[in-house]
């Protein structure tokens, strides 16, 4: 059984999280109607997403330039008014566009995998009101009544409108 604390305000939630962290309580997850950066900091949430996007971009630049060199210089060189086939400056624009194209597709796929989101997926969440107007914190239950009561008290002291077990 987890302990669920429901708050009406972001400030109350953030204050409660500070207190829980000070008391070394393990916070399982926090659900909010909009992104709250204090929550990311307090829960020490980090993501490698942007690094993946950079890696895709780097990979795309190398692959696109190699592809352009292969098609325009090795496989099918064309003579445009005597200009050289290996015309690097004229490869730049298309490289930028194809790189952006590749980053977009691969980032969307990575986001879907990392955030585990896909069409038709059933939402599993402790309290449905978290997508509307409530800030919900989930604490892992210890199975001991005294501990549950203590955590409940911390949440209520900082303004939790509801505290329940689920």
């Amino acid at each position: 059984m987890n302990i669920i604390g429901v708050f009406n305000e972001e400030t109350q939630l953030v204050d409660a999280l500070h207190e829980l962290k000070e008391q070394k309580v393990s916070i399982d997850e926090v659900y909010t109607p909009y992104p709250v950066h204090h929550v990311f900091e307090l829960l020490e949430r980090k993501t490698s997403f942007t690094w993946w996007a950079f890696a895709y971009g780097f990979m795309a630049v190398v692959l696109v330039l190699s592809f352009l060199y292969y098609t325009s210089v090795i496989d099918w060189p064309l003579n445009f008014g005597g200009k050289p086939s290996s015309a690097f400056p004229s490869f730049i624009v298309i490289t930028i566009i194809l790189t952006i194209f590749s980053i977009t597709i691969l980032s969307l796929f990575t986001f879907s995998v990392m955030a585990v989101l896909y069409p038709g997926k059933k939402a599993v969440m402790p309290d449905e009101r978290a997508t509307d107007d409530k800030f919900v914190v989930v604490l892992r239950g210890q199975g001991q009544e005294a501990e549950t009561a203590r955590l409940g008290d911390i949440l209520r002291t900082h303004g939790a409108a509801e505290v329940y077990e689920k």
Binding site: Y31, T32, P35, F49, S90, L98, M125, D132
Partner: protein
């Protein structure tokens, strides 16, 4: 994050988070109003005319258009560039303000992005049907094939255009869609009907609003925003290169890329203003789309209008200063005076002079005037494209092939059809999608109303 008190509250009234959801979801839950049905019917009739015109084009070929010697490009490229321009500002608006951390974007970005997706979709129709044999459009896709094997010309701005517009459509649609996922989840979790719960639940992708999801969601927004900002600049620069890399008088100018990018953002911002005034009026979103929002757009329009005026003056000056007789003829005898005088001056008056009325606070604050001026700018931007394309082509280097261009009913039909498709798309957006980003507005609800040190 540093907060300024200059802008004031972004959401008016003493609203709760729940109220914000209710207000924005109300049009989705309510019955269709009569005006919506009438407008949708008119849009469908216009779209049907467009489909008929496209059928005629594909069935009998582009000989059904009045493009001929020497006007090889006519209404189709004019309207293509016009739609792309409108499509530009949606993403420009949303993305530039996102990466610059401008929070006043939140009430407007959703509609601006919707506008982008529909406008770019309309624009994409033109290159395809302009090929004549539309069923061979796949020839442009670079893959080793049985025709050689033969590769497309990777050095051609027209090929860049194809890839750039495809990428732009993909990134704009993705940015728009993923922005809506948390809002679809809100609708899903508030819905009482099983069908609505299932439909919006499907599109909500299992969104829960957990901190892990929000973190990745923000990272995705900034990655897409960052790369799309580059695309906004590059797409219209490429469109301009289609012209500038030619040797046609009036086109062969290094001014073209910035001139086109700024022009695109100008027309798009004007269309954003048109749309936001309609949304605010019809759906009574005064507390979300505030006077301050429209005031900010009007001020941006003044600034861009000045740049447009400078660009027009620069083009004329360069034609004179270069001493090139063909450039001189195009600008002084086929634009400022001559057969296309009306189109040139319509462009100057609509884009460089009338928007200057926004210097007056009374006009900026008067929504009727703001609405009319936003429509005039879009008309002016259409004339700009007509001016660039037709005047330069109609009287080329060989006087025996000079001609005066008029569109046929088929060309007009395709344009009206795209207007119908665009309007129908926007109306469907009004009805089925939250017009304002619910989760983002909740994030700025307290902005300008308190002095606490928290930010999110």
């Amino acid at each position: 994050m540093y907060k300024t008190s200059i802008r004031g509250p972004l959401v008016l009234g003493d609203k709760t988070f729940g109220q914000i959801s209710s207000d924005i979801i109300t049009p989705i839950d309510s019955k269709l109003p009569a005006w919506w049905k009438v407008a949708f019917l008119i849009s469908l009739i216009a779209a049907a005319w467009g489909v008929w015109a496209m059928y005629i084009t594909v069935r009998y070929g582009i000989g059904t258009w009045n493009v001929n010697n020497s006007v090889g490009w006519g209404w189709e490229i004019i309207n293509f560039v016009w739609w792309i321009g409108i499509g530009h500002a949606g993403t420009a608006f949303s993305i530039f303000l996102l990466i610059l951390r401008q929070r006043w974007r939140t009430s407007i970005n959703r509609a601006a992005e919707a506008m982008t997706v529909f406008a770019v979709g309309c624009a994409a129709i033109y290159p395809a049907i302009h090929m004549g044999r539309v069923w061979l459009a796949f020839f442009i896709i670079p893959y080793p094939n049985t025709r050689g094997p033969l590769w497309v010309n990777f050095n051609s701005p027209l090929f860049w255009d194809f890839i750039a517009i495809s990428a732009y459509l993909l990134i704009s649609a993705s940015f728009w869609y993923f922005g809506m996922v948390p809002d679809f989840a809100t609708i899903r979790d508030r819905a009482t009907s099983k069908i609505k719960k299932a439909v919006y639940g499907f599109f909500a992708f299992g969104w829960t609003g957990s901190s892990k999801q929000w973190l990745k969601y923000e990272a995705l927004s900034f990655v897409l925003g960052g790369i799309a900002a580059v695309l906004v600049v590059s797409v219209h620069s490429i469109v301009s290169t289609d012209f500038a890399s030619s040797v046609i008088p009036g086109w062969h100018a290094t001014l073209f890329p910035p001139y086109f990018v700024v022009g695109a953002i100008f027309s798009g911002f004007a269309m954003v203003m048109t749309l936001m005034i309609i949304i605010r009026k019809l759906y009574k979103f005064h507390d979300y789309v505030t006077d301050s929002h429209l005031n900010a757009i009007a001020k941006i329009l003044i600034f861009i209008s000045l740049i447009m005026g400078t660009a027009y003056a620069t083009e004329v000056f360069m034609a004179w200063y270069s001493g090139n007789p063909y450039e001189m003829f195009t600008f002084f005898h086929n634009r400022i005076t001559g057969d296309y005088t009306f189109h040139f001056w319509a462009m100057v008056v609509c884009n460089a002079i009338i928007p200057q009325l926004f210097w007056f606070k009374k006009i900026r604050r008067n929504l009727t005037w703001a609405f009319i001026i936003s429509l005039i700018i879009n008309l002016g931007m259409w004339y700009e494209r007509f001016n660039i394309i037709v005047t330069s082509l109609s009287k080329d280097y060989l006087p025996s092939s000079w001609t005066t261009y008029h569109p046929t009913w088929v060309e007009i039909g395709i344009y009206v059809g795209t207007l119908g498709i665009f309007t129908a798309g926007v109306l469907l957006f009004f009805k089925y999608i939250p017009m304002i980003a619910i989760s983002e507005v909740k994030g700025v609800l307290k902005y300008g109303k308190e002095n606490r040190n928290h930010s999110h």
